[in-house]
Amino acid sequence: MRFSFEVLVSLKPGLSDPQGKAVASALPALGWTNVSGVRVGKHIALEVEASDEAAARAQVEEMAARLLSNPVIEEYRILEAEEA
């Protein structure tokens, strides 16, 4: 079976996020002055061939920890799987 996943990777809270800051400072210029807490991250979509959802998810966990994110600076979240 094939399962599709979405992995969200973001800089850890507390780490400076230059991209987020740039976006945050551009928004008021367009009139949105009530926005704060802007953080920019990555969205990675992928499909995994596996016997069941648990196996697929375990593999995505490992991939997210080893390659898709850098544990020194980033954290990740895996969104609900769907059968692709």
């Binding site: 780490l15 400076s16 230059p18 991209q19 390659l67 898709l68 850098n70 020194v72 600076i73």
Partner: protein
């Protein structure tokens, strides 16, 4: 080593840019430059290894994240564990951090701009394979050219870096003053380069390989390469 001439290996990854300059600098300083290939499980018996600057694998995902899994990196890790001298410059520094051979990580410059200019670095320790010929407190002038050179680290790593004296270089003025105006990328504690506990693995964002030939700019890279050659001669990686 052949006839007292140390052999400095320079790894080329897909997307490396400064491999030729690093080879040229090694030769200029009196070493034999040995080209190494990312896909080979082979360091060709070199006495020191340089991971050069550039954009390995397009810097896709994160700088250095994919290069870290290249075949040659298994050999680099083993070489480093034997005490062999390893120098990562710019993208090479990013690869060493991603590999876990050095603490911390490099993220987008605080300014979000690519920075290309000559900077001064204050030497923080002579206990490393690129600073043995220098004295703590001295400054050297070397160019930087990067978009993602802001050094960051977890709190526990930063504490270890400070406690164990792992900072090798900080961005500074010509006379060694460190502050925001002399820091091109907003690095934490103005850190430009660090080492491992043993001092045989060093990474830095500035480019010593572009600063050895007086015909083309500052020569602050010379003592770094002279130190690396001396470490290579000592043959710790054999």
């Amino acid at each position: 080593m052949t006839d007292g001439v140390p052999r400095i290996g320079v790894i080329t990854f897909p997307g490396s840019l400064d491999d030729r300059d690093a080879q040229r600098a090694a030769t200029f300083m009196g070493a034999e430059a040995v080209p190494l290939w990312h896909a080979d499980h082979d360091l060709r018996g070199v006495d020191a290894v340089v991971l050069p600057g550039g954009f390995s694998y397009g810097d896709y995902l994160r700088c250095g994240a994919i290069a870290r899994f290249a075949a040659v990196m298994d050999e680099v890790r083993a070489f480093a564990e034997r005490g062999g001298p390893v120098l990562g410059i710019c993208n090479g520094f990013q690869i060493l951090c991603e590999s876990g051979l050095l603490h911390g990580a490099l993220i987008r410059n605080r300014s979000l701009r690519f920075v290309c200019r000559d900077v001064f670095l204050r030497v923080e320790t002579s206990l490393s394979v690129v600073t043995s010929e220098l004295t703590a407190g001295e400054t050297v002038e070397i160019p930087v050219k990067h978009g993602e050179g802001q050094f960051v680290a977890r709190q526990d790593e930063l504490r270890q870096i400070d406690d164990e004296g792992l900072v090798v270089f900080r961005y500074s003025s010509a006379d060694g003053v460190t502050d925001d105006t002399h820091d091109p990328n907003g690095s934490i504690e103005h850190i430009a380069g660090i080492r491992n506990a043993r001092g045989n693995v060093v990474g830095l964002m500035p480019h010593p390989e572009h600063a050895v030939d007086p015909d083309v700019g500052p020569t602050g890279g010379q003592p770094l390469f002279a130190s690396l050659l001396a470490a290579a001669m000592a043959g710790a990686g054999a």
